[in-house]
Symmetry: C2
Subunit: 312 residues, 2 copies
Amino acid sequence: MSEPGPVGEFGLIDWIRARTRVGGRTSLGIGDDCAALRVTTGADLLATTDMLMDGTHFRLDEAGPEAVGRKAIGVNLSDIAAMAGRPLAALVAVALPKGRAVELAQGVLAGMGPLAQRYGVDLVGGDTNAWDGPFVIAVTLLGETTPDGAVRRSGARPGDAIVVTGPLGGSLLGRHLDPRPRIDEALSINRRARPHAMIDVSDGLAADLGHILAESGGLGATLDADTIPIHPDAEALSRRDGRTPLEHALHDGEDFELCLTLDPADAEDLLARPPAGVTLHRIGVVDAGPGLRLATGGGLVPIEPRGYDHLG
Amino acid sequence: MSEPGPVGEFGLIDWIRARTRVGGRTSLGIGDDCAALRVTTGADLLATTDMLMDGTHFRLDEAGPEAVGRKAIGVNLSDIAAMAGRPLAALVAVALPKGRAVELAQGVLAGMGPLAQRYGVDLVGGDTNAWDGPFVIAVTLLGETTPDGAVRRSGARPGDAIVVTGPLGGSLLGRHLDPRPRIDEALSINRRARPHAMIDVSDGLAADLGHILAESGGLGATLDADTIPIHPDAEALSRRDGRTPLEHALHDGEDFELCLTLDPADAEDLLARPPAGVTLHRIGVVDAGPGLRLATGGGLVPIEPRGYDHLG
């Protein structure tokens, strides 16, 4: 390697290790064959993994390694949020382009730092590789359930109110690289209102709500077009591509807001007195029959739950 | 996709899910934002991750996806073995070459099956992606400690006997694709003899023993050349490349045998009455001073702990 700083794989690992502080929950961090963690007695362990590839989920040349690191941990934190879980620790595996390996690894790590610190995530392990291919990063995030329990996708019931935590659409303009995981919001909401089902909006509102409805036994939903919060980025993107802002709000992915369903009375109470720092929008109702519909001034229109197919 | 069988990302996930049975430890498997697991009360969670890339860790065209799947879970199981842990669950993230995505995913999964079943590993989550790049797979394996505790790299003491569980060298001839993780062996050894330090031989005996010695405070070791068990593959490779079989045994990686250090009296007892199914070779002694030496008929020769640098 011609870069200054740590040399080779083990030099890099030592460099990372020297800059990694772990909390009391981590019995054993970087530097052994496995990490070891203490899970709270009575809690379930939560685990999720996401792989991001240069040219698919980001453009390394445009975004830079810091943004990639931020996104890689952010999308996983968002999955922990979607269960109303508490994050604990991360493992980070990378395939680094040869010649830039150390520089990229340092950038990625720097990018992860603020989100990891804010949410108490220990970096406990990983795997560093270099190759002639594009940059690939896979983060596995471990967390645990709280005494309020995990919120699954599968618990929606006919008549449930559908609620989202923020405006949607147009994340491609930059927000997709800067997830704001709704960890604190999810914990507050779960403590107050015990949602029946929850998911984070990563594939697009229609697709992700579709996952909830499918997992809950083939239910449907009617969304009220006027109440779906539309992000300014969706308006901006609409002016460029001619698709309506509402289409962007329904089908763009990577907003990383939460979509939840809950008892309508609980929704009313929650929206009347939202937990501190939590924004909530009631956007529709769960139906007993299948299918996703949009209620507009002109009547009911079916919504195709297209979303993003990562194999497409 | 032109392949028969499951269509698209969600079709593939459904296909995998329908073929995945999970045990009683998994509260929530594939199909939600996170998996949820029960860790035994009092046990520590163990976590490890390894990323394998086409052209670096395997050649997809030669090995086929089944062998890649077997290796990907095998190397991670070997890391759990190195801690004397019990495996629980796996998360599998893949970047699949477009056009072959579904076929490859199915092959990888089929290859993982036997090792997963044998060691009680539930497939609880993952991430499926397709791209124009080479095949990449990252497996994260979760396990837990037993009441006998985890064996770290850092506990070696001067005077400890150094023991390995099988012959070394020449894994490149094929064994590197077919790890036999020493899970059962590690559990038996830990129950009987409480090793002070343990690692699996993935970077090469000299390098991995070097990790133990470095983590244990900068100790050294003297290996007895006559007692290091040499694999027939090391002999075969030696005839091809002119390096000695012993060089291969010392420096080739991916043998996935265990290397451990323990009290010499415990070693004597263990070797005199090895646990059922466990092969053991005593190959040297831990020294108080740093440096790795080889005792030969002609005296002491220093060993360079080169091994494999994944960023090299």
